[in-house]
Amino acid sequence: MKKIIIQSQDFSLSEEYGLLRQNSKGIGAVVTFIGLVRDFEGDSELTHLTIQHYPEMTERLIKQTVEESFERWTLNCVSVIHRVGKLTPSDQILFVGVSGRHRADAFCANQFIMDYLKTKATLWKKVHYTHRSEWAKEKISDTVAAERWRFSNE
């Protein structure tokens, strides 16, 4: 199973985990990651985020990353859900779930997908504070994290 969904509505961790187990014969590991909206950026308290994306292109770019993860590691299922629209602090933003025979592959693939998603997928975050709003800027740390996968599978 390769599942990639961009949606505004929330998702259920238990349902997504259930799907990964249900579709994964012979698996020995499931690694899940959930990103949440922080309530502070630095010293500033957030009221909410708005997440914009480029429909079809976003899904295609994430699919390419998921396909690459299957080429790099031995996996059974990958599921990626990214929410868009208005999100408030502590809301779930995204889900990445990977199942495989062994934990090492599942951990690496999950981190690879996250690192690539943050630097390649056509999604943009606008951060709203009480009296101002600003578009999030790219982080060098995210670029560095994604770059390391060019030369390594670990």
């Binding site: 914009q52 480029y54 995204l94 056509t122 999604l123 943009w124 995210d142």
Partner: protein, 81 residues
């Protein structure tokens, strides 16, 4: 000259609220030149080296020949996740 659709994302979407959604142009470079006349601030941002350009959702260069009905999207560095 082709009629192409324009899309702006991220911080560019705030700068492009008055920009027409359809424009006549043969290359993305020509789009940028045309926008510079009425929207100099936006056009200046389109010179950013970190900006990517997509035609029909495929990343291309600024000299990509455009065809009638193409969708040209200007993509600032992404910040999802």
């Amino acid at each position: 000259m082709c009629e192409v659709k324009l899309k702006f994302f991220g911080y560019l979407s705030d700068l492009s609220e008055e920009v027409p959604t359809v424009l006549s142009a043969t290359t993305p470079t020509q789009i940028r030149s045309k926008l510079a006349i009425k929207f100099p601030k936006l056009a200046s941002e389109l010179h950013s080296p970190s900006l990517l350009l997509a035609v029909n959702k495929i990343i291309v260069n600024w000299d990509e020949p455009l065809e009638d009905g193409d969708e040209v999207a200007f993509l600032p560095p992404v910040t999802g996740g």
